[in-house]
Point group: C3
């Protein structure tokens, strides 16, 4: 795996980590503002929305990183990184929307879920094509190219 093949994925990963750090800091500020001391996680709805927004983003972070890299290594670094940036943008809007009202979390949540499904689709396709190359010694993309040339 060469440096060029993964450096953009690495940049998106680091950006994702910075976003998680930002969300964590928001929870710390909310704990102070609404006087909810650990280990309590229950409090006024304003606090609970911020807490749940961060918890939801944290829960999806490893899934996001896993498909970002599977899709980026086995399918396309460029397309995967672009999806990665869209996902992080969706999560930022989700976090701020949820902080304001439970209802306002929905649109960006659906958006980031859709981007995640695209990354999952790329991963499945990329790993399938790789399986064909390794175990069937068939490069389906190359075959497809030749077939299109013949048309």
């Amino acid at each position: 795996m060469s440096e060029e093949a993964v450096v953009v994925l690495a940049a998106v990963t680091v950006l994702g980590v910075l976003q998680q750090a930002y969300f964590s800091l928001q929870v710390i500020y909310a704990r102070r503002k609404y006087s909810v001391s650990p280990p309590a996680t229950a409090g006024p709805p304003e606090f609970e929305r911020i807490f749940r927004a961060q918890a939801n983003c944290s829960e999806y972070f490893p899934i996001f990183i896993a498909v970002l890299w599977m899709s980026g290594v086995f399918f396309s670094q460029g397309l995967s990184s672009l999806c990665g940036l869209l996902y992080l943008y969706g999560r930022l809007r989700y976090f701020h929307g949820y902080s304001e009202a439970a209802q306002r979390r929905l649109a960006p949540l659906y958006f980031s879920a859709q981007v995640l499904w695209v990354l999952i689709g790329f991963s499945v396709l990329g790993v399938f094509l790789s399986f064909c190359r390794v175990y069937l010694e068939v490069d389906l993309l190359l075959e497809l190219g030749s077939a299109l040339d013949l048309v």
Copy 2:
């Protein structure tokens, strides 16, 4: 790291992501069925069991992915992928068992924990053997092979 050396690990990873997506959808359906709107996470026991089952699987997902890859890269891709599939099968049974009754989560939980310990064991062994190769310039598996030949 060649494509052949990791493509099966990648396939198991993508399968694990799909399983997490499936669990998340079950929580969304349960939220609707039992009328538990976010950010609330408390509700009837039927809902709480599904919520906790998904939370527990999410919590273990990054640990599973980490040992799957450490074990697969440093010890054996085949054995690790097999354990990976067993783990995901155990988690599926755990999720459905827990959805029905707290008691029914136990057998598949113990099963998947045991598989995880096997993966941890493979990781420790694989990383140890790699340390010996890199820093002591001793290939213990090769030495063991020669020793067995001499017997």
Copy 3:
């Protein structure tokens, strides 16, 4: 990516997994001791502190692993692994401190957060230098070395 370049990161990763396994076992023991049966997560403060300590460590685990590897691969395996060990040590003190009193979680929490920021800094720097090499064909470290020679 050669074996030498990542084996120490792999060892720290496996150590991190073992630590998570240890924390999970502590929660299981605490559930028995304070009679808090799943799916409940509320109970006496002693239980809730242990539960939240483990939840917090779990939440940070994927972030830690991501920056450990980004920093280790793109910046320096040695420095990153050292920070990784310091982080895990901080988390161990955090877990035991939090188990005793909410107040006693703070010092090790700040310590491990600081180490995490160092790893994030290394990752940003490493990925930036890699971008310069790949897309601008400039090796800033080499340039810096030459500049220092000229002085």
